[in-house]
């Protein structure tokens, strides 16, 4: 005999339990994670992760709305899931442009503090962007690349985001942030291409992306006393 109330009761309970354990509880738990100081005694050594500037928050929304995450990931997987962490084209570079370590650490939940959604990505048609802010520090490079990716990499299949830029008559001097393009793609004489607010915000966000900062001791990072350890974070 079929009992409607019993049926719905079992159906409800069997879904409520995973909902509680897998969605509600971790939401409460992960809500409580906060940036950790590298050295609790000496706050000048900074926090992990560093605070997110306002422009990056706006840029994150542009990143979300423009659909960047359909092709780009922000997820460096541990070594048991492939060679992500050894890819030399994804790793952080230091001031001289040398890799900061032989291997990147995998991403942690802390790397995404301050963002409204972690765009880990879906499938990779472009490189991982976890550390793009240190690989490409030049704002002008990003503007050129966003405006026409093939002006930089002939093999790129990234769409040009020309709608985030404005072509206008040069008034007086060329603007500081006018897009630098090779002759083939350059605007007509007397015109310049300048980024809109969205493009500026997006590039502002990309420049903050440095998700392989060394971990503090609490999260398994090496203690600051061990000299040179900061440059080679443990995973």
């Amino acid at each position: 005999m079929f009992r409607t109330s019993i049926f719905f009761l079992i159906l409800g309970v069997s879904f409520f339990v995973p909902w509680l354990v897998l969605i509600v509880q971790p939401t409460i738990y992960l809500n409580s994670i906060e940036p950790i100081p590298y050295d609790p005694e000496d706050k000048t050594k900074g926090m992990y992760p560093p605070p997110v500037p306002n422009i990056a928050k706006q840029g994150h929304e542009v990143y979300n709305q423009q659909g960047c995450a359909f092709c780009h990931t922000q997820m460096v997987r541990p070594t048991y899931l492939g060679q992500d962490s050894y890819r030399t084209d994804w790793i952080s570079l230091d001031e001289e442009g040398n890799p900061t370590a032989t291997r990147m650490r995998e991403s942690t939940p802390y790397d995404f503090i301050g963002e409204s959604y972690a765009h880990l990505g879906v499938s990779r048609f472009g490189p991982d962007l976890s550390n793009v802010g240190t690989r490409r520090k030049d704002r002008a490079w990003h503007y050129t690349h966003l405006y026409n990716p093939r002006a930089i990499h002939s093999w790129s299949v990234m769409p040009g985001y020309r709608h985030l830029f404005e072509t206008r008559v040069i008034q007086g001097q060329v603007s500081d942030d006018a897009v630098q393009l090779p002759e083939k793609y350059a605007p007509p004489e007397g015109y310049e291409i300048v980024p809109t607010k969205e493009a500026k915000a997006l590039v502002g966000y990309l420049l903050t992306l440095k998700k392989d900062a060394p971990l503090p001791v609490e999260l398994g990072g090496e203690s600051p006393e061990e000299e040179g350890a900061a440059a080679a974070p443990a995973g």
């Binding site: 879904f15 897998l22 899931l81 060679q83 959604y117 765009h119 048609f125």
Partner: protein
């Protein structure tokens, strides 16, 4: 269209003249909402196929139609619009149409007031339309299966809930004492979708929370839509149609129960395994992977049940359009779950995650399993509610073969492409990402061709459906439209 040698047992209480009249009156009463859902789903299917072609073209040739005024046709937006149109426009809507008809038939209650369904259906379509236009206008999201702008979800949640409440009410007021397994699955889909959809949108868009947790909720949601919404809708159709066409009961009621409760108990735990290796507490993907493996038990129960029900009657596939599509869908369901389980194993997760292979998996679920099952159900239902027969066996045949080859190509290309991409991703000799891009685009080229095949297949389906909706079907007296040598088979009028 009764493409069946249905049970003609005179002792069957469901074959009395009163009973036949009741079924015909039920079919007439749900005609409007069911045809509304099917034809608008058909429109979205065509839209999705066109967008699917565009996204594949724009992905490999960003220069394709790259005019300034067409900036909104870039890959991310066409892809998001494609997914939205395919899942919310076509899949869920077709599923709702099938579920409404099944529910009315199985409860043996003619529908008195179709207006609630029609209104809810209009709101649903408006929601999808706003969503797709919103994506093109640049208000979309980079969240899988939640690409619609943030303000669209209340419309979709409210209209689905109206339809779900309608179906539950009908079930509570049923006249039939027997409760069929198809009804269990429909009730499951009625409860699970609003719960999943509200949770996903409230936790991601409204509540504050850690960024990674929102991504985890999204992974749980997409998996839930596939296995707890589209899954039950498709299985409800298969559980109804296979025995109906073969004219024999389901092999085992116990196995059917096991299959349902297994899904209900494990389904809610699965999903986050997609983020294995991601920045989450590792027990979360772990639980998801374990649940996906456990889900194989109910899936095997369903597969055995369907197999034993059809045993010795496989030739029904040669003449019955419904049986052909449904059987392919049912086999794909088993395959989908096996692939899902394989994707949870570390060495395989490594080479499938974050590649085209994840798209291949979704297409296996949405097209090979769900859409094929829905086509089967629509070929069965429409002649009954319109009291006419399909106009052309040739069109159905073309729809089937182009869909079948198209699906195999779609899933095959994406999975093989994903494996090659990940081989390139692990190749550290290339100092930039050109290797992964080049190898990926090779397969995306095939994807564009595949969407043209599927567009042709579904255009056949769509125009056929429209002509039936407009009352241009064949007269019943000419007998049901069967494929191949179907004329030799026993035929029953479509009010059965």
């Amino acid at each position: 269209m009764s493409d069946t040698a249905e049970s003609t047992d005179k002792t069957n209480p469901h074959q009395t003249p009163e009973d036949v009249a009741l079924r015909a009156s039920i079919d007439r009463s749900v005609r409007l909402p069911v045809l509304f859902f099917f034809s608008s789903a058909g429109v979205w299917l065509i839209v999705a196929m066109v967008l699917g072609f565009f996204q594949a073209m724009k992905l490999q040739y960003p220069g394709f139609l790259d005019y300034d005024f067409l900036f909104f046709l870039n890959y991310p937006r066409t892809r998001a619009a494609f997914t939205g149109a395919l899942i919310y426009g076509w899949a869920i809507q077709a599923g709702l149409g099938v579920c409404v008809w099944l529910m009315a038939r199985l409860c043996r209650v003619p529908l008195r007031n179709p207006i609630t369904l029609i209104i809810a259906g209009h709101f649903w379509n408006a929601g999808v339309l706003f969503g797709v236009l919103g994506i093109f206008a640049g208000f979309g999201n980079s969240m899988e299966w939640m690409e619609f702008p943030k303000w669209v979800w209340p419309i979709l949640a409210a209209s689905y809930s109206m339809i779900a409440v309608w179906m539950i009410t009908m079930f509570v007021r049923r006249r039939e004492q027997n409760v069929y397994i198809a009804q269990w699955y429909i009730l499951g889909a009625c409860v699970w979708f609003p719960w999943l959809y509200l949770t996903a949108n409230v936790f991601i868009h409204l509540l504050p929370g850690a960024a990674v947790m929102k991504t985890a909720v999204n992974a749980w949601y997409t998996n839930g839509v596939l296995f707890l919404v589209l899954g039950p809708m498709g299985l409800a159709a298969a559980y109804y149609l296979i025995p109906k066409i073969l004219g024999r009961p389901i092999y085992s009621y116990q196995l059917a129960q096991l299959g349902f409760w297994g899904l209900a108990i494990f389904g809610g735990w699965a999903g986050m395994h997609k983020l294995v290796g991601g920045p989450l507490p590792s027990w979360m993907p772990g639980v998801g992977g374990a649940a996906t493996l456990f889900m194989l038990m109910p899936v095997i129960a369903v597969a055995i049940n369907h197999h034993m029900t059809t045993r010795g009657q496989h030739n029904a596939m040669s003449y019955s359009p419904t049986m052909r599509f449904t059987a392919i869908g049912a086999i794909s369901y088993t395959l989908l779950n096996v692939v899902a389980a394989l994707y949870c194993v570390f060495p395989i997760a490594e080479i499938t995650q974050l590649t085209l292979a994840s798209i291949g998996f979704q297409m296996l679920g949405i097209y090979a399993f769900f859409s094929m099952t829905m086509f089967g159900a629509i070929y069965f239902i429409v002649p009954r509610v319109t009291q006419t027969e399909w106009r052309s066996a040739k069109r159905i045949n073309q729809h089937f073969w182009f869909s079948a080859y198209g699906t195999v190509m779609l899933v095959g290309l994406m999975i093989v492409g994903g494996l090659s991409q990940s081989a390139e991703n692990n190749n550290l000799d290339v100092p930039n990402y050109s290797g992964v891009v080049n190898v990926g685009m090779f397969y995306v080229r095939g994807l564009a061709v595949t969407f043209l095949l599927l567009l042709y297949a579904n255009a056949n389906f769509f125009f056929h459906l429209v002509s039936m909706t407009l009352g241009l079907g064949k007269k019943e007296a000419e007998g049901p439209t069967l494929l191949g040598h179907g004329a030799h088979h026993q035929e029953l009028p479509s009010h059965t």
